[in-house]
């Protein structure tokens, strides 16, 4: 059979219908993700499977095993690295840790943790600052496959050179190699880093508050959402933070353009670290 012509666009109403069906049938809601990104990923999938249209893809996703998992993988945000933006971690060490230190017990939520690199980056930071033993860390993502990778704490050795550089720039206090063992082409991170981490499935779009926490870290997730969904998610964060709790976002995610901005004080404008006000303005 001749393979169909490469698809170059999807009609918006067809894409919307497809996302609506995904939501109704599977419960995953991508309807308020930024369209250009979603369209590009779905187009790629259609061409990769050598299908002729989004309706052919839709039929397979609804009726054949395995296809929905592909879509889930295409639309989940899986790219992360250890100590991405070292300045963020440096600022956390200098501005946030001293305040967290004043609590007898701290809860931290990594929302949209993907494969866990940033969770372990922060766990190392907590160990070095002597706070790990009194921390409970929740690491959540909607995608179970990436959570399984996160739980293993095994990463390709090819990335270590860059991670080591990032770690040093972030104000790391030891030798980065103290935290992992290299085996063949992988490194496995120290088991002691996992002790206080709970990995759990949680969907920022459809699930609600599950704990009251001192710090939320959610980096480079909101950039995939439209304004409406961004507001919904930062409201969820605001409900989940204790008064005086901290929120750390990605370098291109600005709380200033959301509805909750007046409930926060900016701790670091460049690194996007915010503190929920103790007395909230109404």
């Amino acid at each position: 059979m001749q393979s169909p012509e490469r698809q170059t666009n999807i009609q918006n109403h067809e894409l919307e219908l497809f996302l609506e069906l995904i939501y109704r049938v599977f419960g995953y809601d991508f309807r308020n993700y930024n369209k250009a990104h979603v369209k590009r990923r779905i187009l790629h999938r259609i061409n990769n499977l050598e299908l002729g249209s989004i309706s052919e893809l839709q039929h397979k996703v609804l009726h054949e095993a395995g296809y929905f998992d592909l879509i889930l993988r295409d639309l989940s945000i899986n790219v992360t690295e250890m100590y991405r933006d070292p300045g963020f971690y440096k600022s956390m060490r200098e501005e946030v840790i001293p305040i967290l230190r004043t609590y007898p017990y701290i809860k931290i939520w990594h929302a949209g943790c993907a494969t866990g690199e940033e969770v372990y980056s922060f766990a190392i930071l907590l160990q070095e600052e002597g706070l790990y033993e009194r921390a409970q860390i929740y690491a959540t993502d909607f995608n179970q496959i990436v959570l399984e990778i996160a739980k293993k704490a095994i990463y390709p050795v090819s990335k270590i050179k860059e991670y080591t550089r990032n770690y040093q720039e972030s104000g790391g206090k030891k030798s980065f190699s103290d935290y992992y063992v290299a085996r063949y082409d992988s490194v496995i991170f120290d088991q002691s880093l996992k002790k206080n981490i709970v990995f759990a499935e949680h969907n920022l779009v459809t699930d609600s508050v599950f704990a009251e926490v001192n710090l939320i870290i959610c980096r480079n997730v909101l950039i995939y959402f439209n304004k409406e969904l961004q507001n919904k998610v930062v409201r969820l964060f605001t409900e989940s933070l204790i008064k005086g709790g901290f929120l750390g976002l990605g370098s291109k995610e600005n709380l200033m353009f959301t509805d909750v901005f007046d409930q926060y004080q900016t701790i670091d404008l460049k690194e996007k670290i915010y503190k929920k006000l103790v007395i909230t303005k109404k």
């Binding site: 170059t8 666009n9 918006n12 930024n34 369209k35 250009a36 990104h37 369209k39 590009r40 945000i77 790219v79 992360t80 480079n220 950039i223 995939y224 304004k227 990605g250 370098s251 291109k252 995610e253 600005n254 353009f257």
Partner: protein, 187 residues
């Protein structure tokens, strides 16, 4: 005919090429420009500031959700992909690198082609890889206009040559003539 936007992709040697084009555009040049220059993921945002000092146009690093405005030049931030939405806003992602690059020229061009259709000009400048060639094909699929810097005038010829070899380039121009040609197309 008239064009609503220009996308530019550049890589090795791109900063000088961009400087030549941007400084060659008059202060009343209102067609927005969106550009992706390959950078080290660790680099800071100096390019926008550097070019902004040399030009009458407003040159800035792109923010997510930002509306594309006339007389503005938007630059992809280091380590993010830059995408154009169909409502003519900009968005960023941290998806996988494409052609070893983030930002990727292909992603910018492919999404801009869908948004602007035949009202888009795409330009490939100097560079050492093939990024942007798929984007050029996509722009032609939507009947946009495509330009490549002539390989002889490029600091590194690989990228414009790859774009030309797709067979989808409308105009090949030496670097020094690109700005004047854009003025003739857009003003």
């Amino acid at each position: 005919m008239g064009f609503d936007a220009i996308v530019i992709g550049s890589s090795a040697g791109g900063l000088n090429a961009l400087k030549t084009i941007i400084t060659g555009l008059p202060h009343n040049f209102s067609t927005p420009i969106i550009l992706t220059q390959h950078l080290s993921p660790h680099s800071d945002s100096y390019i926008a500031e550097f070019l902004n000092q040399l030009s009458h146009l407003t040159i800035k690093e792109a923010d997510g959700g930002e509306k594309i405005m006339p007389s503005h030049v938007y630059i992809a931030p280091p380590n993010f992909h830059l995408l154009v939405e169909e409502d003519f806003t900009l968005n960023l992602t941290v998806d996988e690198k494409i052609n070893y690059s983030r930002p990727s020229i292909d992603i910018l061009f492919e999404t801009a082609a869908i948004a602007y259709k035949n009202k888009l000009i795409g330009i490939i400048l100097t560079g050492a890889n093939n990024d942007g060639s798929n984007g050029i094909i996509q722009i032609k699929t939507f009947d946009g206009f495509t330009i490549a810097q002539s390989p002889e005038s490029a600091e590194v010829a690989v990228m414009p040559r790859s774009a030309i070899e797709t067979g989808h380039i409308d105009k090949i121009l030496p670097l020094q003539e690109i700005a004047a040609f854009l003025v003739s197309l857009c003003c």
